[in-house]
């Protein structure tokens, strides 16, 4: 078989698979514009006389602005704290060659073996006792859960920055705080992108932890989606419009940060 023919066949296979992968998106987009009757008469076809009505109703029922605001607040604050705290801790561990640092690093790495489900019961009762089952409490929990992998990744990146740089700055009279914030942290930018993307994707989509922690006023998009779905379980036209609203922020993020996302996810799993 000629090379040309081979590439042609592979191209067709790619096209078919690509369309197959996109088909679920096609189904929810088209059906989110149909009336209940429209969905009943044809699920596969394009909407006839499409309506935005589903979206306005879903928007209101999802309390979309508030849940979007909650999701953004929780994700952004948590990710900034995780990046900062993990980079600092990794720096302390990497630049201190004592046994204690080794033990602390081992502790963080070993904690990665513990699945969330194994700590969630005592965790929620402890935080309930100190009145921390709210957004600040959740953000603190994300710091605790996110630190391990982030420190592990940062630690590798800091090892690649020569210690002579720190020493030169020390001779110039800079303290550890200044060295870290003005020299080390900016040099870690590529790793910060990776750490941030991995944590954003996880925290944005997380359901189980916030479902155990947040009061209804703090509901994020996944929580509000679940709540909303319970109300409209037989009204697929509204439910699908709601799902579309939930997916939209992710698609926008993917559209603008695609290159970073793919690189970060690869680095995070291969390392």
């Amino acid at each position: 078989m000629s090379k040309h023919a081979k590439n042609w066949i592979l191209g067709i296979i790619g096209l078919v698979l690509g369309l197959l992968w996109l088909f679920p998106f096609y189904l929810i987009i088209t059906n989110s514009f149909k009336t209940p009757k429209g969905i009943f008469s044809s699920v596969i076809g394009l909407p006839v006389g499409g309506t935005f009505g589903n979206y306005t109703q879903a928007w209101a029922a999802l309390d979309f602005i508030r849940s979007l605001f909650n999701s953004l607040t929780i994700t952004i604050v948590s990710v900034v704290l995780i990046c900062l705290a993990s980079a600092m801790a990794a720096y302390a561990i990497q630049r201190n060659h004592s046994k204690i640092s080794n033990v602390i690093l081992m502790l963080f790495v070993a904690a990665m073996l513990i699945p969330f489900q194994s700590v969630m019961i005592p965790l929620t009762t402890i935080f309930g006792k100190v009145q921390m089952l709210n957004i600040p409490g959740l953000i603190f929990m994300y710091l605790g859960f996110g630190a391990s992998l982030s420190i592990f990744l940062y630690q590798g990146a800091i090892a690649g920055i020569p210690e002579a740089l720190d020493e030169a700055a020390t001779i110039e009279g800079a303290g550890p705080g200044r060295i870290f914030f003005t020299i080390i942290l900016p040099m870690l930018n590529p790793m910060t992108v990776t750490v941030a993307v991995l944590n954003i994707v996880w925290i944005w989509n997380d359901y189980l932890l916030p479902s155990l922690v947040l009061p209804q006023s703090g509901y994020t998009i996944p929580l509000q989606t679940f709540f909303f779905f319970g109300q409209f379980t037989k009204q697929w036209n509204l439910a699908l419009a709601g799902l579309m609203l939930g997916i939209l922020p992710v698609v926008v993020f993917y559209f603008f940060a695609q290159r970073w996302i793919i690189k970060s996810v690869t680095d995070g799993s291969v390392k």
């Binding site: 191209g11 630049r95 073996l113 489900q117 194994s118 700590v119 603190f140 630190a147």
Partner: protein, 288 residues
């Protein structure tokens, strides 16, 4: 170099370390302790030895969830790795739109498990039924209403979600293979299968270790998709381990009992991860 005794050292460590201790280490140790008591979330009155653990192994709901999870994990490991590798081999060829295909295959991975479950609930319940009725294919109707279709529904959803992710891992290893080796083998007159078997396959072998264990441990921890796709039904037949633990603790309010199940869950998941570390190390030793 930061001195261990210096204030700066501990200040730098404090936020992450305090977070880890309060959120993971202390709850884990407390949980381990509580699992041997009659703790109800507020207090405990006595030690009950291993009776929570014994009860878990006699709990048919827990055992069913355990086997369901194991079967699901096995099906997912096989399907996702074969499809993920296939997609990776496809998009690393010189074909038109290869980059667009990567984007498309990976996209579902960014959508949260909860929303994914609802999307597929619609597809299985409404779209499958419509196609089945139109084409008179009985097998397509009534999806998610019995244990078998519920099981395969979860597997199909996971294939759509995870194949693109696993594809990225295989791509990373495939692109690290030097072009010259493949070209030299082509000149020597090898068949495509020989090149895959004797060059590509050994060079992506480390990716298998990573991907197999990643799919295995992810498979064990699934909760969101389970909740939104089948909600464990019909009659708890598609309930997975996570859901069984959550319901024992938070729906039935048996906290110590739920924690004992959670500790068993930890032992299984940790064993899987340690096996991965072991196999990766062994491979590296063999290479050096």
């Amino acid at each position: 170099m930061l001195k261990t005794k210096s204030k700066a050292y501990w200040l730098f460590l404090a936020p992450a370390l305090i977070g880890l201790l309060c959120v993971v280490i202390v709850p884990m140790l407390l949980g381990l302790f509580y699992s041997f008591t009659d703790w109800n979330g507020l207090f405990f009155t006595k030690s009950v030895g291993f009776s929570n653990y014994v009860a878990a192994f006699r709990d048919s709901g827990f055992l069913n969830a355990f086997w369901f999870t194991v079967k699901y994990a096995i099906a997912v490991i096989i399907a996702v790795n074969i499809i993920g590798l296939g997609l990776a081999l496809l998009v690393t060829q010189k074909i038109k739109g290869a980059n667009a295909l990567r984007t498309i295959f990976f996209m579902p991975n960014l959508i949260g498990g909860l929303i994914l479950g609802f999307i597929w609930q619609f597809i299985f319940v409404r779209v499958f039924a419509a196609i089945g009725t139109a084409l008179h294919i009985g097998a397509l109707t009534g999806w998610l209403s019995n244990p078998q279709t519920g099981f395969w529904g979860l597997v199909i959803l996971t294939i759509w979600q995870m194949s693109g992710y696993i594809m990225l891992i295989y791509i990373a290893y495939l692109e690290a293979i030097p072009r010259e080796i493949i070209e030299a083998a082509e000149i020597d007159g090898t068949s495509p299968w020989q090149r895959f078997r004797y060059i590509t396959f050994p060079m992506v072998a480390p990716a298998f270790t990573v991907s197999l264990f990643l799919t295995l441990s992810n498979g064990f921890k699934v909760y969101d998709q389970n909740l939104s796709l089948t909600n464990g039904g019909p009659y708890l037949s598609t309930q997975m381990l996570s859901m069984n633990i959550v319901r024992t603790a938070f729906t039935n309010n048996k906290l110590a009992y739920g924690e004992a199940k959670a500790i068993i869950f930890f032992l299984v998941v940790a064993a899987i991860s340690l096996l991965q570390v072991y196999f990766s190390r062994k491979r590296e030793e063999n290479l050096s």
